[in-house]
Every structure is written in C-alpha cells, then in structure tokens.
Amino acid sequence: MIIDFALLFSLLPAFAKGLSVSLSIATLSCCIGVFVGVPFGVITAYKSLLRYPVALYVLVIRGTPMLIQIFFALYCLPTLGIHFAPFWLAVCAIGLNSAAYVSQIIRSGIQAVNRGMLEAAQALGFSWWQTIWYFVLPHAIRITFPAIGNEFINLIKDSSLASTIGVMELTRTGQLKMAGSYDLITIWAGVGACYLIVTSLLSFVLYIFEKRINAHVENK
C-alpha cells in the first residue's frame, strides 16, 4: 500500500491544527481582500482621479508573484520600522494581493450593471452613494459571485505560501512531519486531501449561496 493509513491517522491532529491556521489566514485575507478590493473596484469603475493610483497598485500586485510580495513584506517592512509577526505578515500580504484581484472582479461587475436601472435610481432621487449601495453593489456582487468564490478558494491554497516564512499552517506542518517519518507520499497525500476536502466543501457552500442570491432573477 502506497498510503500508510496508520501514519495518516496519527498525523490528523497535527494536520487539523495546521489546517485551522491555514483557514485563519485565508479568512482574514479574504476580509482584507473584500474590504480593500470592493472600494478599489468602485474607484476604478468610475472616472475619478483616484483610479490612477489604484490602477498602479493593481498593476504591481498582479504583475509580481505572491511569494515575492511576501518576501518583500518580510524583509522591507522591518527596515521601515514596521514589525509584524509572520502570521499577520502573511495575512496582510495575501489579503492585499487578493484585494487587487477582487477590485478587478468588482470593476467588471459594476460595468456590467444595467444602465437603465441606474438611470431609474437617479430619476427617483437616489444619491450617488445610495445608488452604489442599494443597486450597483448588489448587482455587481451577484454577477461576479462565481469569480469572487474562486478567489476565496484560491486564498485557501495561497495560504500555503505562509509556510515559506515559518507560519505553522498546514503545508508547514507537512514539511515538519516529513522530517520525522520520511513517508513523503502519505504525508503529502494527507496534506493535499485536507486542502481538497476544505475547498470542495467551500465550493458546495458557494454554489448554494449563489443559487440563493440569484433567486430573484429566476421566474417564480
């Protein structure tokens, strides 16, 4: 048998602990991605001067590997007197990376919103902010929900990059256990299965949620 199930079961508590750290990184990064990415998406969708610095930010983040961004944060921020624990450094780097992608997803969603509905909102006396809040964002999020869902799933996998700066998440746990047992196949199959189970469950939850938020566009 290639997989040593006895070893695998003995490693489950350690994997569960590592997975909880991975999910914490992914969840917190997701929050940063949404809270930074959504306003950035709104800014880039409209013709304001702020869209230029945001576009530069998106260009730099999308044009460089996330690993380089994590190393950059690890080595450059201390020289500026900013010190973060590796866990928070990973959360910030992955979250800010995600924000760039989320902003572009939201921008495309906003640009796909029916103009007629926006004109109706204006004609009815809604302010610009009210129009964004009550009509543009709900539609943009509905339109872009599958893409945003993919981004969340990616965050779970991207959290493995935190292992490179010593955060004891799932991948790092696998690396350390490998040193103790040398059964590489069992360990990495176990680590891979953990990621697969979590991302599959999340995909299912996102699918259910997508059906719910699309309920109003389906004829009843």
């Binding site: 004609a123 009815l124 809604f126 009509f135 566009v217 389906e218 009843k220």
Partner: protein, 248 residues
C-alpha cells in the same frame, strides 16, 4: 403649468432637439409623436435631469425649473421604456425603498402607501415577488406605481407600449388617462399612433428634433381637413416605418 421654451440639444454636433416649445396644463396629456430618433425621449430625459439641455428654459407654475434638483425634489417622475425596475428588490420594495430613502416618509408610512398603490394597480398578490416574475403589463403598472408614489407634478412616459403586447394598448391608455384625471401633468413619447389617438391629449408631431404641428387627439383621424400637416406627417411616418421594417 409646464412651459418648455426653445429647448435645444445636440449630441456630437447633431441637432436632436431644435428649439422645442410647448405648454402642458395640469390634468392634460401631451403626446410627442414621431418615429425613432426625432428627440422625443431626449426631451423627457432632459426633464428628468438625465440629459443636460444646451439652451432653452423650462418653467413650472411660473417659476424656472432647476433641473439639478428635479430628482431630489420629486417634481418629475418617469416611466421608462424598459421599465427599469430594481431587479434585486421585491415588487413592494421597488416602491418602499425610494419612498423611505429619498423622502422623509417613515418605513411604516411607506409600506402603507406601497400597499395601497399595489392594490390600486392590481399587484397586491405580487407584493413579495421579484420583478423578473411579472408579465410586461404588470411590470409597467409597477413602474407607474413607483413613479406615482413619490407624488411628482409631472409624469413622463417613454414609449409606454413598445415593450408590450399591442392588445394592452387600451389598458396603458386607461392608466395614463387616469393620471391626467388626478391632475398630473402627463407627457408621453411614442411612435404608436393608436395609443396617441386613444388618449385625450394634445398630440405634438415631431420631425428631426422639431415640433411641426400640434393637433387635438380627437381630431387626429376624424377632422383631417383642418390639419393638412397630419396627413403629410403620417405619410412620411409610414414611409419611415416601412423603410425600417424592410431593413429588418
């Protein structure tokens, strides 16, 4: 009284409205009749601050109408060609949200007004449905209810029959006529001569951004002798419509 005086609008150098002037009293209907592209909708869009006129004045009850505040002050209401309902809100919330967020009306009061209007327009049983589940006629009645809820002085209809089954023309005419009876100033932009004739209105015949004649709707088909320009207009109109149909 609504007085539009010498209103002009160009898009990329092309004249869309060429010195349009017309007066509409409360309780009356002005129908802007003409084929596509003659500026009917642009005129309504200007009244709703969705386009900015190049020149001309708009007066309401003797005072200049400030188009910048026309939306917030709910002086003008609009029923759009494609209805433009809020698809993410229920039928009831399409009326409640504008009342609640753009006026000082409380939520309870807004709900009361919405229910009365839905009852009046035969949509009470659809209150918790979403607009996607409504028929074309129901969508239009909801769009009218949404506009009426804010109690504007002027209500504009942009091509009210174009997205509907022709059999519904009588129902649309009745809904519009009812608003005139309630002393609203009603403007209707349409290329539907049947609708124009069925409304008790003044019909303004439009061509190339100008009003070329005005005629009382009851004389539109019956008293042509006094309106030779109507025959001329309808002949040209029929040619344009035929030309467009041939292109399709």
């Amino acid at each position: 009284m609504l007085k539009i005086n010498k209103l002009c609008k160009k898009f990329n150098g092309k004249i869309v409205l060429d010195s349009i002037s017309l007066n509409v009293k409360p309780g009356t209907i002005a129908v802007l009749l003409g084929p596509s592209g003659v500026g009917k909708s642009t005129l309504l869009r200007i009244l709703n601050n969705l386009e900015i006129p190049d020149s001309g004045t708009i007066m309401l009850d003797g005072q200049a109408l400030d188009l910048k505040i026309v939306n917030r002050s709910h002086i003008v209401g609009m029923v759009f060609q494609q209805f433009n309902l809020f698809e993410n809100l229920t039928v009831e919330d399409n009326i409640i949200l504008p009342l609640e967020k753009t006026t000082n009306i409380s939520h309870e009061e807004a709900v009361k007004i919405a229910r009365l209007l839905l009852e009046h327009y035969g949509l009470a049983d659809k209150a918790s449905s979403y607009p996607a589940s409504l028929s074309g006629g129901q969508k239009q009645r909801l769009a009218i209810a949404r506009a009426v809820a804010l109690k504007p002085k002027i209500i504009c209809f942009d091509e009210p029959t174009s997205a509907l089954d022709p059999l519904l023309t009588n129902h649309v005419a009745a809904s519009i006529q009812e608003l005139a009876h309630k002393q609203f100033i009603v403007l209707v932009a349409t290329h539907d001569t049947t609708l124009a004739q069925r409304l008790q209105s003044t019909i303004y015949l439009m061509k190339s951004g100008s009003i070329i004649a005005s005629v009382d709707s009851k004389d539109f088909y019956t008293n042509r002798a006094n309106y030779p320009e109507v025959d001329q207009f309808l002949a040209g109109f029929a040619q344009e419509v035929d030309g467009k149909n041939n292109l399709r």
